[in-house]
Amino acid sequence: MMAMSHKYPDLSARNLGLAAAVVAIGGVSDWRLGLVLALWLAAWGLNIVLSGTGGSAKRFLVPTIFGITLLVLWQMSVRLFDVSSVILPAPSDIWMTILESVPVLWADFVQTVVKGALTGYVMGAALAVLAAIALDRSRFLQRGLLPVGNFIAALPIVGTAPILVMWFGFGWQSKAAVVVAMVFFPILVNTVAGLKDTEAMQRDLMRTYAASYWQSFFKLRLPAALPFIFNGLKVSTTLALIGAIVAEFFGSPIVGMGFRIKTSFGTLELAMVWAEIAVAAVAGSGFYGMVTLAEKRLTFWHPSQRANR
């Protein structure tokens, strides 16, 4: 015990005693609660042990165990406490629904993520970068446009989505428009900040090379702005997905993730709702991961890309 608490300070006698007390109190009031608590704390202990060891596998293993623990606790709670499937379905039911509905999920994925979110993301990012480049030459416009853009970005999507559906119709175009509206401002702000982020020494060096404005732009300022641009792009991946899904709540053809979530909820098919949510989470994380990979390739020189201690 002493050796363990020496190597893993989080597993000290005091903490273990505390954990045991929590399980006991929970178990006394309801044996099922005690079981759920015991499982959760055991998994947490496992994670502590794993984190203390060396090796790079733990970066993948620990969050996976955390996630699996959550799923197991969810399944146990739903079954033990007899929760109605109309309120919260068990992960096993959700998995069955996923397996049975692959064509539907795929069609929804294409409609929402590929046609709506990705199109809007690319258009919005391109517009934002171009706008930042145009703004770069005029401090006056920068000072005026950024506060106004801030205000426009504060318009709640629940209000702008119905208006954009009214303007662009029920198809994927209005969803792409909502996504453009959502990703434009974060990427713009980040790009403008990035273009300003060169040191005076670096700019002077370009002057000594007799570089024109555009040469200096493409060879110094744009590459220096890339880390900031990627910051904005990463933040915008989740915004794009959420925007496309929410826009579908307000009018859509009969395909799409937002449509499926809304209508399945209305017909009490909650397992389908959670299946779509799972697809959204996986798609969002995958999208974020792809942008992070691109960032690693293109901005390998930046301090933030060094390995963490």
Binding site: S85, P253, I254, T267, L268
Partner: protein, 328 residues
Amino acid sequence: MKKLMTTAMAFGLISGAAAAQDEITLQLKWVTQAQFGGYYVALANGYYEEEGLDVTINPGGPDIAPPQVLAGGGADVIVEWMPAALAARERGLPLVNIAQPFARSGMMLTCWADAGIEGPEDFPGRTLGVWFFGNEYPFLSWMSQLGISTDGGADGVEVLQQGFNVDPLLQRQADCISTMTYNEYWQVIDAGVSPDELVTFAYEDGGVATLEDGLYVDEARLEDPEFVDQMARFVRASMRGWDWAEANPEEAALIVLDYDESGAQTETHQIRMMGEVAELTAGSDGTLDEAAYQRTVDTLLAGGSDPVISEVPEGAFTHVVTEAALAN
């Protein structure tokens, strides 16, 4: 000390008196409007209080599924349409119809006359707007019976998930939209369209109508005789409210406006809605008409490849409550 004791006793007495009233929560199917006039009238005129009930009316809305609220214990009785209730029953939530104030269906499909649609046979190749969230069942059944696919293309219809307004029709994004006799149809008229520019198909006329606003409770609770008695009193007071609303539509609409917390409803709209709803509730004393129930079940079962319900429901309604309500 003496003051404290007397105050405490006074509070005790008051709460004791209040506890004599049974607390009931009613979950509506949509926002506060004259569609639920009878219940608001019963609340405002004190009919519930006279029956010893302390009723809380919770309005619904776009993201609220009343069966789910019932399952979650957030309401004792809900207003729901029969297709959605039967589908929920098949999905494992034991809803039982205890009263049916709406004897007729008010659902329609409203189309532009200049779109060249004269009858259901002209639907293929058109764009139709449909509400979802549980309201799509009558439409899907009808299309199935007509043999028209909902997947678009030349032989089927293109279906749009329309929001709860009439813009898709006015802005010509759809050739036809779903409307209710008491609500959306009049919104279209209010927007400056005259009735002869529209062609309307009422589900009631097409023989594909399904029963709409009815009162539903959880089957398990009906085993408690006290609950049955509470529901009987509730139904009795509610039907009194409906009778009064049918006789005094203008005052009933004003009562509904009083309870509207969003401040968005207008007098004209609500008075007109109350008048139209009165035509749907006319002649009903709350008892479910079994012939109408059977028609609804048949329409839903005849849904072809994708029926709303797959087997004949058993025990989906009961006359126990309405018999007790009308016995006095």
